[in-house]
């Protein structure tokens, strides 16, 4: 190290004082810094949770986002993935009981965001599977951009309606729904999962063989066409090619 790399105690003290002044309700020049810090966090959260912002409305979202960024400020200078804890944090707020689907809508937006920025990888092709009969032994890696969840609210239906810019009252059957995001190339694809589809992917993620996951999925719905379900998941890019060729 060519230069002194020891502690800088006065600088540290200055930084802590400055950070405290930003946190206080500041006037004059300090307000400029405070505004930049707060709006940087709020804008990042709005970019990452646009449907939550739409459901809450501008004014409420702004207030909620300021509260969140105070409770959970960024810990990295990369804001593209800021707000990982936002869905769970929303759920703990008193006002969330008036909009009980919003935490799950936030979870959906988070899964989509993670899929968007996940590592690139070659998806598993159907040719790899043709003619196989070793289903009881075959384990498949999930594609790195595959994200799925089972949610106890109709958040997927609500989220989809908001993407289509539906206005007015939200009227949905109150039921659980599953969601899968994949990104086999550059575009994120969204797929509704039923309970058997979710159980199948859950098993694959836990390391079950395709055969074991299929049997478990059938127990959720004896009428499920496992072959079609599996083909749909493969075609959606839910699995990574065996010999993963990650892009550099």
């Amino acid at each position: 190290m060519p230069f002194s790399a020891g502690a800088s105690p006065l600088l540290l003290e200055f930084q802590r004082g400055f950070a405290a002044a930003i946190g206080a309700s500041a006037e004059g020049p300090m307000r400029v810094y405070r505004n930049t810090v707060v709006s940087g966090c709020v804008d990042a959260l709005r970019d990452n949770y646009p449907v939550v912002a739409r459901l809450l409305g501008d004014e409420m979202f702004e207030a909620v986002a300021v509260d969140f960024t105070t409770a959970c400020p960024p810990r990295q200078p990369i804001l593209a993935l800021y707000g990982e804890r936002f869905p769970d944090w929303i759920e703990m707020q008193g006002w969330a009981s008036d909009v009980p689907y919003v935490p799950d809508v936030a979870r959906i937006e988070r899964l989509q965001l993670e899929s968007l920025f996940a590592p690139d990888a070659e998806p598993l092709g159907m040719t790899f599977l043709s003619g196989r009969d070793d289903w009881a032994k075959l384990q498949l890696p999930l594609h790195p951009a595959a994200r799925f969840a089972w949610l106890s609210t109709p958040a997927m239906s609500i989220w989809l309606s908001q993407l289509n810019c539906a206005d007015g009252e939200l009227e949905f059957d109150w039921r659980s729904e599953g969601v899968l995001f994949t990104r086999p190339a550059l575009e994120v694809e969204r797929i509704r999962l039923d309970a058997s589809g979710h159980r199948f992917l859950f098993g694959i993620r836990a390391g079950e063989s395709v055969g074991a996951a299929a049997i478990a999925a059938s127990s959720h719905d004896p009428d499920v066409d496992i072959g079609s379900l599996f083909a749909a998941l493969v075609n959606a890019g839910a699995f990574a090619a065996r010999f993963n060729r990650s892009l550099p």
Binding site: F3, F14, A19, M30, V37, G40, P74
Partner: protein, 275 residues
Amino acid sequence: MRPAAGVGFKAEHFAEALAAPAADLWFEVHAENYMVPGGPRLAMLEAIRRERPLSLHGVGMSLAGAAHPDPDHLAALRRLVDRFEPALVSEHLAWSRLDGRCFPDLLPVPRTNEVLSRLAANIGSMQDALGREILIENPTHYLALRDHQWSETSFLCELARRTGCKLLIDVNNVAVGAHNLGYDARAWLEAIPEKLVGEIHLAGHTLDGEGTLLIDSHDAPVSDDVWQLYEAFVGRIGATPTLIERDGNLPPFAELMSERHRAHAILGGSLALAA
């Protein structure tokens, strides 16, 4: 990179940026926006990079913080530098990280001997990690800090002397700081030696709600006073890569390019003078 004019790249302008015919055009991006594992954002930047020189402008290394640069952040920047082979890599004379928290802003420091040593050490660490020289940008000022032991221009020159880094002179930051703190922008620029300047930034500013402070808002065209300062600066130091920065109120690509052409013409004039 030839001493030409470039523009800040925005995803909204992807198709036009890729197709732009302008000779010697280059693009700059905030490095942090591309520190993601994969996906379309990186693919878009690769497409741009195949056509044009690129500059990576960091906003999150917190070089003026009391701590060493974050090793993970250094490694992420190194990966971007290796992948995109930028013509220029720059960072700010600012801090944005403290006690595990990050502030999406460029916060100021008093120009003391202690800060000078810390900054020099941190710039050294960053240059070592990247295996190349970086540029350091002069900050915007809103607040007159006490305890300065150095003038800003001599502080910047001393940093360059100690570390071998070059300077990225943001002319708008100089104009904004001169207005807010009451110094002479022209004299400030005249104190910067030509051989230290590796890049110039031009951007717009706005007056704050109370009508007293200029804000380095990057949401308006470059102002007339900044153009005048720029022309005089380039007239003295010679043609230097110059970037039109725009982050808010994003105009059509053609509008940014007309500002870029204006800068390019000024650079061309200075090249002709030098010839």
